[in-house]
Chain length 452, copies 4
Amino acid sequence: MLPTESTRIYPRGGLDVLSREEVAKFRDASTGMHDLLRRCALAVLTTGSTSDDPRAAQELYPEFDIEVHQQDRGLRIDLHNAPATAFVDGELIRGVAELLFAVVRDLAYTAIELVPEGGRDLGSSVGLTDAVFDLLRNARTLFPTDPNLVVCWGGHSISREEYVYTKQVGYELGLRGLDICTGCGPGAMKGPMKGATIAHAKQRKHRPRYIGITEPGIIAAESPNPIVNHLVIMPDIEKRLEAFVRIGHGILVFPGGVGTAEEILYLLGILLREENAHVPFPLILTGPTASAPYFEQIDRFLRLTLGEAATSRYEIIIADPAAVAKRMMAGIRKVRDHRIAQKDSFFFNWSLDIPLAFQQPFVPSHEAMAGLDLHHGRKPHELAADLRRAFSGIVAGNVKEDGMRRIEAHGPFEIHGDSGMMQSLDALLRAFVEQRRMKIAGDYRPCYRVVA
Amino acid sequence: MLPTESTRIYPRGGLDVLSREEVAKFRDASTGMHDLLRRCALAVLTTGSTSDDPRAAQELYPEFDIEVHQQDRGLRIDLHNAPATAFVDGELIRGVAELLFAVVRDLAYTAIELVPEGGRDLGSSVGLTDAVFDLLRNARTLFPTDPNLVVCWGGHSISREEYVYTKQVGYELGLRGLDICTGCGPGAMKGPMKGATIAHAKQRKHRPRYIGITEPGIIAAESPNPIVNHLVIMPDIEKRLEAFVRIGHGILVFPGGVGTAEEILYLLGILLREENAHVPFPLILTGPTASAPYFEQIDRFLRLTLGEAATSRYEIIIADPAAVAKRMMAGIRKVRDHRIAQKDSFFFNWSLDIPLAFQQPFVPSHEAMAGLDLHHGRKPHELAADLRRAFSGIVAGNVKEDGMRRIEAHGPFEIHGDSGMMQSLDALLRAFVEQRRMKIAGDYRPCYRVVA
Amino acid sequence: MLPTESTRIYPRGGLDVLSREEVAKFRDASTGMHDLLRRCALAVLTTGSTSDDPRAAQELYPEFDIEVHQQDRGLRIDLHNAPATAFVDGELIRGVAELLFAVVRDLAYTAIELVPEGGRDLGSSVGLTDAVFDLLRNARTLFPTDPNLVVCWGGHSISREEYVYTKQVGYELGLRGLDICTGCGPGAMKGPMKGATIAHAKQRKHRPRYIGITEPGIIAAESPNPIVNHLVIMPDIEKRLEAFVRIGHGILVFPGGVGTAEEILYLLGILLREENAHVPFPLILTGPTASAPYFEQIDRFLRLTLGEAATSRYEIIIADPAAVAKRMMAGIRKVRDHRIAQKDSFFFNWSLDIPLAFQQPFVPSHEAMAGLDLHHGRKPHELAADLRRAFSGIVAGNVKEDGMRRIEAHGPFEIHGDSGMMQSLDALLRAFVEQRRMKIAGDYRPCYRVVA
Amino acid sequence: MLPTESTRIYPRGGLDVLSREEVAKFRDASTGMHDLLRRCALAVLTTGSTSDDPRAAQELYPEFDIEVHQQDRGLRIDLHNAPATAFVDGELIRGVAELLFAVVRDLAYTAIELVPEGGRDLGSSVGLTDAVFDLLRNARTLFPTDPNLVVCWGGHSISREEYVYTKQVGYELGLRGLDICTGCGPGAMKGPMKGATIAHAKQRKHRPRYIGITEPGIIAAESPNPIVNHLVIMPDIEKRLEAFVRIGHGILVFPGGVGTAEEILYLLGILLREENAHVPFPLILTGPTASAPYFEQIDRFLRLTLGEAATSRYEIIIADPAAVAKRMMAGIRKVRDHRIAQKDSFFFNWSLDIPLAFQQPFVPSHEAMAGLDLHHGRKPHELAADLRRAFSGIVAGNVKEDGMRRIEAHGPFEIHGDSGMMQSLDALLRAFVEQRRMKIAGDYRPCYRVVA
């Protein structure tokens, strides 16, 4: 068993005020809340771990437990047998403690507010967008500052060269005063924040924002690193994706695997809608020289599936961090002008039309995966929605606990579709496997089968 | 017509983030929200006014209007033909602008969250307390700091000598680092804040809290002065009273009229409950030498109606500001120890038992007023509840728009009860009238009739 | 004997770092530094005292002592038998503690830097101005913010009505974001700060500046009140006067006595110089309606002595606080434009030409006072210099320890001059006596004799 | 010619207030101040340069110029044809701008205060220590916080592996809340700050201190990187060394060349004095596994020259960053206790006895170098003083402009001494050459000859 520590932590700065009812939720064994909290907290505490196996941490720290108490200053978190790696000389790293309070805050909010009993309309597109807004606001992620938030997507399992490149790009973004948002976790989600941290220090930016947006299904595989100073736990992958595109003023895509492909499909599916034709949204795919073939393949896949029109919404820049940052700045300036003209807020992209198909939670059962309709002839954004689901299912089969269990029980998912599209998809997935982008450690055993 | 100015204001500091839906509420003419906003905003803008006639401001500024807009930085408030007195050389006083944003924030929250459609149980005691907590939290009034908040109650119409005394007491409280909460408005609600402001400057307290808690019915008669840096608009008088006793760590009562009597009855009714016997709650009645007879009369009335036991829950100190502050400090220390022992929070007094009778909104119709059961023999806290309602009704008849209209239409309220109690009540009310505590200006025409 | 307290205090915020040598200065009995420190500290500790007798505090607190120690955090001040009035429940008022550290800082700087052994040229005008600059900079009084500092002069012994008026003017200045500088002490030096404190709270000005500039000779008679958050002890009256006119962006004069007359003469003497003809400098004399005759008399005296031209440099506004503030704002805007055009700094008025005659310390011996040359025909600024000295001597004879001792030993000063000028001077001084502007308490026994 | 930019910069935050006289100093061509400023400013602007040739920057940017102007906000710096590498999209990096203001501040202070005309005794040990204190205080480097400042020494020219190791150590120090001070420049002076920056972000340390102490002779070869947020330019190498040991609470030595050897000899020479026997001073030599032989050789050299006793004052830890940080923490705790016991300040080590021989500037002429007395039998601290001078001379010959010119004119320095000591010295210097620690680029041509 690995070394552990136990401790009690208290919130700093008065931001975390829970009601008695909210605290009580975590203590009620019947609701599953405690188990959820335990899993998310363990993910935060195993920050820096290089494993992406969601069950590994549970097995390494079987005695770990967490309790939330109501106290004079409002809240107290007790940790029992927590990973010693999150401590320095017996004291929990302060950033880790902050992230734990963020977990408690978001799980409580989700359990009480984002449920039908909370008076919510979670069946309509408007209602779901409001849910995303409310959770982000409650997490104090929405500020009326000038647009400056760059969302960085990319793989958790990338090469050393790619990782160094993400740091360089983050550095160039940081030099220009841009803040960073990623999905939490190692690799392309950590590098830009590290680079930006150094640049922000040089630019004397005293309150930089490193926003991490995750969800309970993925957090165990992609521990937030404590540079993240605004952590948000969205209730599911669809709300997490909506959060990214509503609060980001531009998006960078580094090399990645199926998760990154899911994200690209999600965003392009939305941007290709007629309704969004006039909404500016800088989208840049970038990597070091060695990643050029990777992006060529992605580019081909997107042209084949979504059509040539798709290429008008993104740009590929290879091996030029400063150029990436400059292009992003230029793109964000357009976003700013558009928001002012539209009286849209700087902090939440209300103008972007996201249809229900992209918002409704997709549960990747074998049946649902088999039922995806991957054929040419569909409208690009509809096809994109189903392709997004296909990748989402593979992510689940790879690194999410539920998905892995399904695969263990019933074998790989089957994905059906046009033979051309299926060949292209198969080639893409094989490339991910060969480039070791699927999983960090061990040989990869595919959780899917592409059927033309 | 009085001089006016028009302007646009923007929130500072990123605290005021509304959703599209929330902004839209204010523009929907059908909901009454715009009218409510207009009235509350005008109250804030006529700060410093010495009138307590709720309709006066409306008549003086008939062209006044306010609009809430969604904008790039989230929110913009447009003021049209606003009272020039809130401006300095064409610029709105910053504190006034802040209070306007607080009004918008609280009205939006109330309209969307504190309604049955918001998934709320507003019929139970627990549900109502949660509503109070949630609104206070949303207004960022709850901080996990050491207990230091003194609620000051007292009249808006008091003598110069009494006013100077409230400043002196505020000064002594401020010297000891105590923060101030009042009901907004002039007189005893302003003096302690002014005194504390000077003392806080001397003690270099850089983030003092001057909390004002009001409600839409009373705000027009008691404009918040802009020293208030945390304004909260509770939806009704009962939630406002609950807010006072849940967030205050001790309460001071200066001389006042029926409103103050309502507050004393409310608090004593709660403290006299068996369930609250062990909850420490410092309660001090104080005034200058000339006010001694006033407190003697109050004291007699309380003994007569609630019994001798009531006197164990309060203390009367005459003409000694430093002693008041010292006793309050001692009382708050006990509150602190109790909260720690009970694992109750410092910022919200969950332990205090407030029964539904004190929480349910009382609408003072002539029928309801006539139906109050003011007889000896009832349990003290039940009698207190009805006495509280009696005073509440008179406040409404004196200075609230709805109440005044009822009196104009149907004549004075009739209040029935035991002849001894009625004589005592009558004497008290007559004294208020004689001491000019009922209304600031003009001769007072009673809105009630006491019937033995 | 009055109640006292003993305590130890430590600097907050890391601003007060003394060297071993500087600390040692205070402990060396031979230098007189300890005695000087003791006197200044006692003045700070008797804040709020209404006495202007410099020896009163010494007699009331004979056992008072102060020690400066070198410690781990740099500095520790030990107070023995200090006036209990500076304490609240056993704790020294924080503002008072800050002022004590300011006293130590300035006395140390003066003793080590502003002496010929410090490599200083204290014989030239440039060298003396540099000394003033260096001391103000060391006291962190110089900030490169926009011009907004109003110096308020006026009497320590003024009527209630005049005092209330100074508060109202301070309030109007504060509403416009102006900071206040005075000479410390009660009356017209305290009122504007109190008024501005309330206004700054309403305008949410979180770092207002209340600068007090004093000198060891006067501090005992005019204790700084702890609203002052930047206290500077200049070594003598001439440097104090130069500090006022170099850092103030405009000057207000309230009713006062000989000290105020000294200040007006000093400033007009400088402004009437050819060299300063183009330097804008707003100067407003103001008071309530009852003070109108006072200013008429001053005005007459100035016309008589300095000539009609003098009136072009000041303005008299009676009973209109808002107008005073607006005129001051307009004047400061011109100062701002001029500084930018002249590349002069906002925080120190380098452009103002102050001749050596106004900078050299004047020691008011009987001989020096008798030697003043108060005759028509001299250049206005030369005559102003001598008139300034005459008033300065009377201030010393009234409330400074040295001066009082001289008068006790040798009888009143004799002041000689033109008979018309002497009559006018005599009338002015008599008026000060009648209006009780000379001394706060007791009957006034003149320390001067005017000889035509 | 390399790309350049021109711009004007203004101070932020009001810290940089110069007098007219101080500004004028920089404009007076006769004093050499402008040239000194130009050289130092260019060093700051070529941050990140990998050259250690002090003349390279001058040659690359021949048109570069800088002017200091007096302005409304006090100070304005004009840059002409400055290296474009210090700019991001046309804007000077903010950290670089701050460092430029620090250069101006320190050069002005040195030119006016730290000269005999400034009333200074620069001939005595006490006087020199006061000069160091005063300059550090003027640079706002002295804070009364708990001891937490680790000085990191080591080479500017180190291997990739060594550089990564310095980052790891910096990270472990930063995790424990320790601040970093180095001599500015690349390599071991930059790595610890980068590592600490990431750790401080994780620990939410919002005001970390990265202090760089340099001097005009070396700054051109070792440009400060803009992570440094407190830059101090001491007037010479001896005051720079004294500054390190007076403000550091512990010292870490990474692998380096002659400069590092100079620093070790300086510190050990002082610590070995009888007078300092009881002054705790943690001193740790550390590097990655590959550096073990390096430290063995240093260790042997120190034993041979200073005797076995020297080893009691340092500790060598190989390849264990966390252990280094823990030992440093333990050492600093002892420093803290000692300071409290001795009433010594936390921010300046007054207790340490530094004799005049270590304080007097050593000018490495050929004659002076030849005259060094490097023989056994001398008292350790005296021998250490001369050995320190020997290394100091070689540093000058390698990378300082004056020294390089001397070598070019007169050939290598000759260093005489005991044959054993000379062999050992020769071996050490040869090892530095072989390990490429002398100079970053090109083949190294020794500037010295060891003569037994």
